[in-house]
């Protein structure tokens, strides 16, 4: 059974905090709940960007998601 929106938000934030690399593809978040549709996970990830929990990071060719504190530390 698919996770609720709040559960999925927590799982995505946890994943972004604990992943070995700070930058994550959207498809990395799909693993947070294999029962949820990729599009729903993308909407929740985008909502987290709006809330400031995640931010976009660009490699120059690919746009990825990251925790603001992790990525800002890395860029320093």
């Amino acid at each position: 059974m698919a996770l609720s929106v709040e559960e999925l938000k927590k799982a995505i934030i946890e994943k972004a905090k604990k992943a070995p690399k700070p930058q994550l593809y959207i498809k990395d978040f799909y693993e947070c709940d294999p029962d949820s549709k990729p599009r729903d996970i993308k909407k929740i990830a985008n909502a987290l960007v709006t809330e400031g929990e995640l931010m976009f990071w660009s490699s120059g060719s690919t746009t990825m998601y990251a925790r603001p504190d992790r990525i800002q530390n890395e860029e320093k």
Binding site: K42, S58, T63
Partner: protein, 351 residues
């Protein structure tokens, strides 16, 4: 006076062709950072390596595309290009701009950027080259609120869909390419502005097999209009072409500035058909439609004899007509009111 000596770049001004070096020097009169573009490029020529680095946290809030980060890796030597980000502005369907809109866009870029542009990128977006991170949000605010325009796609997002002129100016459009482009642009706004894929993805819409937007070559999802049923042939018009009637010039008169000799329908049309599906029976031109690949070469070479039926494949299609039957043209659109224009969406309506 030049800020940096650029002997290598100066070589590029010596040919009989337009030079971006000359243009940048002119631009530097009002935008001094252009000297640093030239200085850094001169250094790249000497070092044989680029001094641009890209990527990082660059963008406007809520958008994962539309801004492409560019930084100098020698900012102390060239502070004017320490930040030199690219901004992509979504194009309207068919690339129609009013002069008023273009002036407003240029004023915006003079205010917030280097004034250097690239029209257009291969996806069709208008590219603004060179601004600093702190200018991005104010530029985006003015773009979306004052001009009601939006950023285009970049990175691994869906790129801004693009289409040909379609029914608005072309007799060959087999469906309303602008309408379809607009519909899908609206439908996939989220994918244009926020990453959905591991790599870029492009839609392109061509109204006919001439494929003026290179949908086959340059997109992942190409929609190309074609006609239904068989091509009908006006045999009287065929005879006019064969007789070299001045009212029926080959290629619609596109090459008439030079004497190419008598029009030869065998040599210039029938033998150039890639599937050999055309032949003459006496004075009659015949086509085996089952062998036709719809490349449109014959139609472009001698237009009037061919009558194509409206496509049923897509809604809002319009029947292509021979040039001789076209009504006097008047612009079927107006810049702001056309339903074919993408309706620009501001960020606030998306969040």
């Amino acid at each position: 006076m030049a800020k940096h000596a650029t002997p290598l770049l100066d070589e590029l001004e010596k040919g009989p062709w337009p030079s971006f070096v000359t243009d940048l020097k002119q631009q530097a009169a009002t935008k001094p950072e252009c000297w640093d573009i030239l200085g850094q490029l001169e250094l790249s020529y000497k070092d044989r390596i680029t001094h641009w680095k890209h990527g990082g946290i660059v963008g406007v809030f809520g958008y994962g595309g539309g801004i492409v980060g560019r930084y100098s890796d020698v900012p102390t030597r060239f502070p004017g290009v320490e930040h030199f980000h690219t901004v992509r502005i979504a194009q309207p369907s068919g690339l129609y701009y009013s002069t008023e809109n273009l002036r407003a866009l240029m004023d915006l870029w003079e205010k917030y950027g280097s004034g250097v542009t690239n029209m257009h990128g291969s996806t069709g977006d208008m590219i603004f080259l060179g601004t600093r991170t702190e200018n991005l949000e104010p530029l985006f605010w003015d773009l979306t609120h004052d001009l009601k325009q939006d950023l285009g796609g970049s990175g691994s997002n869906l790129r801004t869909p693009s289409c040909c002129l379609g029914n608005s100016r072309c007799e060959w459009a087999c469906y309303d390419a602008q309408e379809l482009c607009n519909s899908l642009t609206q439908r996939y706004q989220d994918e244009i502005h926020r990453p959905a894929f591991p790599y870029k993805f492009k839609f392109k819409f061509s109204g006919c097999p001439n494929d003026c937007v290179a949908a086959i070559a340059r997109s992942d999802f190409a929609v190309i209009g074609t006609w239904k049923d068989n091509i009908r042939i006006d045999q009287a018009a065929v005879q006019k072409y064969i007789a070299n009637d001045p009212e029926y010039p080959a290629n619609a008169g596109a090459y008439k500035g030079r004497d190419w000799g008598k029009f030869d329908i065998q040599k210039e049309v029938i033998k150039l058909c890639p599937t050999n599906c055309m032949w003459m029976e006496g004075n009659e031109l015949k086509i085996d439609d089952s062998e036709c690949t719809r490349c449109m070469h014959c139609i472009m070479s001698c237009r009037a004899p061919f009558v194509l039926e409206r496509s049923k494949a897509l809604p809002s299609a319009s029947a292509p007509r021979p040039r001789s039957l076209m009504a006097p043209s008047s612009p079927p659109w107006s810049f702001r009111s056309s339903k074919s224009m993408p309706k620009m969406i501001s960020r606030t309506s998306l969040i």
